[in-house]
Subunit: 246 residues, 2 copies
């Protein structure tokens, strides 16, 4: 049985400040936990799982602390509406000291606030082989439960760095910067892009003006119908499918 203190500890990890202090986050559900178990990048500290999950997966988790919980305990520690067999407390990812921008596309996110969008963007980056995502400090926390879920495991394969975006972009003068914007050059006029930074803006306000001013090119997805805008993650997916090269 889980102690009250333990339950409180796990629940506290729903808060960013407690995740930051402990340098861990929570991943839930068989799909993502099993993906993390088979990844070389991920350090799982503790797994809480139902007997059913342990029966299937117990042997794979030898080096990790494992506690069996009953469904009512899982419900108390879970951040999901429908808890799903297993919850893992995972160490935050180590980031490389330097980020290589050469010969690749890097994604820069300006104030992406919806956790679902944030997670979907990480999954899209992983699909298109993007290694690094630079986030403005006011983007949603990637270690929040909803973001982790929405990445479907991709969070373990992409480096994600929070920074003061304007100065970071200004510092990296050698790399061409492309902004997804409603009034730019049509997407089909761009070919494959071997090296560059693609900037995606906030869900309702787009890219901040000071950041848009730094962009060398603005890319616009052709509109045929009447919708006012496209979802930020959908826009990133569309642009990357055109410009990202094998």
């Amino acid at each position: 049985m889980l102690s009250k203190v333990r339950i409180k500890y796990i629940q506290s990890l729903g808060q960013k400040k407690d995740r930051d202090a402990e340098d861990v986050f929570i991943a839930e559900g068989p799909k993502i936990v099993e993906e993390f178990l088979s990844s070389g990048n991920v350090k799982i500290k503790h797994i809480y799982a139902t007997g059913q999950w342990i029966e299937k997966n117990g042997k794979r988790v030898q080096p990790v602390e494992l506690t069996e919980v009953d469904p009512s305990e899982l419900e108390r520690i879970s951040q999901l509406k429908t808890p799903n067999e297993v919850l893992a407390v995972v160490s935050k990812f180590k980031l490389p000291v330097t980020i290589d921008l050469e010969d690749r596309i890097t994604l820069a996110l300006d104030t992406i606030q919806d956790p679902g969008n944030m997670g979907t963007l990480i999954r899209i980056a992983d699909w298109f082989g993007i290694k690094n995502i630079i986030c403005s400090n006011d983007c949603a926390d990637i270690y929040s439960s909803k973001v982790v879920q929405a990445t479907m495991g991709s969070i373990a394969r992409v480096n994600i760095i929070y920074t003061e975006l304007e100065s970071w972009l200004k510092k990296n003068t050698g790399v061409k910067k492309y902004a997804a914007a409603l009034s730019g050059k049509p997407l089909p006029s761009f070919g494959k892009i071997k090296e560059g930074i693609l900037i995606i803006g906030n869900e309702s306000k787009g890219i901040h003006e000071n950041i848009l001013a730094i962009a060398d090119e603005k890319i616009t997805i052709q509109r045929i119908g009447e919708a006012e805008s496209l979802n930020a993650a959908v826009s990133a997916g569309i642009i990357l499918s055109h410009i990202a090269a094998n």
Copy 2:
């Protein structure tokens, strides 16, 4: 002040069976309500709004029943976590008797269950000029609050029909059917498509086999990195950005 009966009535519209019985749905927030007010397609039956909203918009809503509510009343009738000035009870959209498939792309959705994805798909369709979406009967209800919000108003500009998808596809023999699938022909090998049905499948299981078997072509988005799959709405956006023609 709102009567208890009125509050219960509005709250009941959170349930599909009550929306169906009353033939109405709820739209919330200034952005979508104002878009509905200026649309010729939308019949708003009743608006509940704060004094602040009425002061700004009262004149525009003359032919509609309008009730002022205070913030605590709005909170009771709202389905949002953060109620936002105005809630409208809206008549469900009338659908055309026949759906024209000629000279256009039609979207077919097989078991899209997440309301956010459903709404985003409607918004994408509207962006790319898709007039009609055919949904399998087990897709999320487009009149649920989360779907309506996620469409950002596009729900008023696209015809959305629920049907038994397999027999509907089989009946429409004259139109070429394209399925978004993980093992098909690469997307860049397709040019603009003037006429066709694009089938998008369930978030985790993809397109049902019996439906995939009806497709004339399978379209695959090239993967460069390692993510197992792309979000259903993102996939639809990427494919439409390639094949939809002005």
